[in-house]
Symmetry: D2
Subunit: 239 residues, 4 copies
């Protein structure tokens, strides 16, 4: 399995607190979570500052699952790169969208909605409950996962009805959120998982790391990539 | 619209506190909620103690939507009546299952699962959040509905993935619950709504009453009843 | 109900055969189907050649349901108009996408996939079977609808799993197609219906006209438009 | 993987033609298909005539996936055995229901509907089209699968909306059918696949055999069995 971990890497390079929390960047923390649970995987990282954001045609063609973290710089992501990523997802590349990635261009392009939600950043405790207990993404985590400090993401979350709803979170403030959702688009599998923030050490949380690794494993394609093009059936009838 | 409100009516007739809370029975409270919002509807009630539990073939044939409340006496409901109700739901009669009705024979027969859940009765506050904001069942209620005192119903709720998920609740204890779900079975529409309990005055809560009335309106069939029988197509081909 | 019927109107203005088949344009035929079944509706038309394709902010703000037909000129539709339509759909305007509109910019933007399919234009007979018999969109049409001459649209149809699958078609050549599908996106309802073509008089077919009118009625919003913007919850907790 | 192949085994023991078509019984043909593609699996068979139909508590506790074929003798299956099978499915045992098993007690108990359909036995050709091309159950089969002689099963098929729709069939007569569907119930996975009949040699068809084997592989549980019982959460709150 070949995984590319993408991160805009802006908070870490401009805010001391975040840099101390994630000395290898959020991408470093996410990559280590995947490596921890999939030691056989080839995991690389890419960031906004890289040429073509590190997501060239070659990189994507060699990627089974792409994970995405962005927050401050969604609009700086090149539209051509977004289209390229979308084409690869539709052709079979898995995509795991994390936390504030819900407003990324690529997530909104694939889902078609605003992907807005309610939020508040005041150190809520988040509980992540499993509502699909045999789903491979929920394997090996407690019911609930307890995250002591976290930003609140609440409903209404403006997404299409997910193909599978795996996790629902509650927050100290009483809010709820569909925090783990899957979507199939074209030949690709998409997993959205909301826990995780630059302001809290959530990507060091063992259960969160496990879920991300589970999601990557689930999203990996089982077949060769099939780039979407218009394919006409031959004119012959079956009749 | 012709509505039949069914209630086992055991708590009310055996426990003083419940009788004081619901002097007309839970069925009386539910019926008044429906009448309040659908003044044109013909609403009658039926209880476990009635002959055939008040659910004869004639009553069901004359019912557009049946609401169901039971708790202590699920096993006392006659299997023949359950089969009759199931047949009418599959033929187009709407069904609104309330609160502890999740373990009723009719709900389990229609869904096929255990319909179990986690629970705790310690005066939680329940918040009911809308996750399908344009659904007619969510019309006219705040986001969230606040229920100051309520029993806790929590995940995992062992139901099939609902056709539509309308409400998710949180509780003071931090639990979450898929508290408003729809299911289509045969020609019938089913709405499950969890808020409501014999130990708390939830059926006097204005927003809860509105949701129940909305659910009844949504579940009402738009066409003539079509009793399910095996219908073979004539042998002629279209080819 | 205020309906706007959009048509690229290219075939009709450049091909004699099509002009004879649809003397009022495909938009004229579609509009008359809606008026026939919803005599109370205010139905207007708009085409590609109109300024801003006839879809100004004012027109869309005054539209409850938009129907869309396009084929040859998808790429000529202005991206700004597509974004405007998408914003109105997400805020509650209904959208009915017809036939070759499956490759329109607006349909692909809302669904996120290629929306490709297999096709063959050789005068198949299409049979449209109902698989959701109580859905309001299937009301009043035979099982199956028989369309004697029609272009073939076949699977694989690259769309997200629909929220509701209402019709499945078969063709003389043996192909099948998910020909009637609904999707909810944001506050808007979307209905895709494939029967209909410039090369065949399908929009004069009584059952096809009935389904289109049913779809328009279903897609109409039940509440005031709610333009999507990022809305943060106030900071106060419920706890 | 431990698989139990169940067959009522009535046609084969009472009709010469069927016995010649399936000399090892339909169960023998199905078992050989599974063994062919899963040589490591432990596959056994059980039939209606066996004590407790061969489905004792011990057998089920030692079964990862059960396949079911029945037709003439649905009503002769003991209700206690049906309840036992249902309990094991809800606790995680996979279930693959084949062809006329759509009217079996176990399928109807798990789905809650009549599971009726239209049918005609006149040697149609069936084409099985894939509409979920990356699903593991569709792996390795052509699009479409061509079955030269087959009974017709047509819509309306009275089932709940499937969790996943994988195959849609067309028939010479022009009918369509949702021929490959998945359902999750409790902790168990259910796959229904309609091709296959006692009157035609469909279980010797290579592609049909492949799909059945794929379905068995998909339905196998990934975790230890978890028998469903009412589990109350401890009274302690998370707050």
């Amino acid at each position: 399995m070949r995984v590319t971990v993408w991160n805009e890497n802006v908070h870490e390079t401009t805010e001391t607190e975040v840099a101390e929390r994630y000395p290898d960047g959020i991408h470093g923390a996410v990559a280590s979570a995947i490596t921890e649970h999939h030691p056989e995987a080839a995991v690389r990282t890419a960031t906004l500052a890289d040429p073509e954001h590190g997501l060239t045609e070659d990189v994507l063609a060699g990627t089974d699952v792409l994970t995405w973290w962005g927050h401050k710089a969604h609009e700086e992501v090149d539209d051509a790169v977004v289209e390229r990523v979308q084409r690869h997802v539709l052709s079979g590349m898995g995509l795991v969208v994390l936390h504030s990635g819900h407003l990324s261009k690529i997530f909104r392009a694939l889902l078609g909605t605003t992907c807005n939600l309610n939020w508040r950043c005041e150190q809520d405790r988040e509980l992540v409950w499993t509502v699909d207990p045999t789903h491979p993404i929920a394997e090996g985590v407690p019911h609930p996962i307890v995250i002591e400090q976290q930003e609140m993401y609440g409903e209404f979350f403006d997404i299409p009805a997910p193909d599978e709803l795996i996790f629902i979170s509650s927050f100290s403030g009483g809010e709820v959120f569909r925090s783990g959702c899957t979507f199939r688009r074209g030949h690709g599998r998409i997993f959205y998982f909301s826990p995780g923030d630059q302001a809290f050490p959530v990507y060091h949380h063992a259960d969160v790391r496990k879920v991300i690794a589970n999601g990557v494993g689930w999203a990996a394609p089982e077949r060769a990539r099939d780039l979407p093009v218009l394919r006409n059936r031959p004119a012959g009838w079956f009749a």
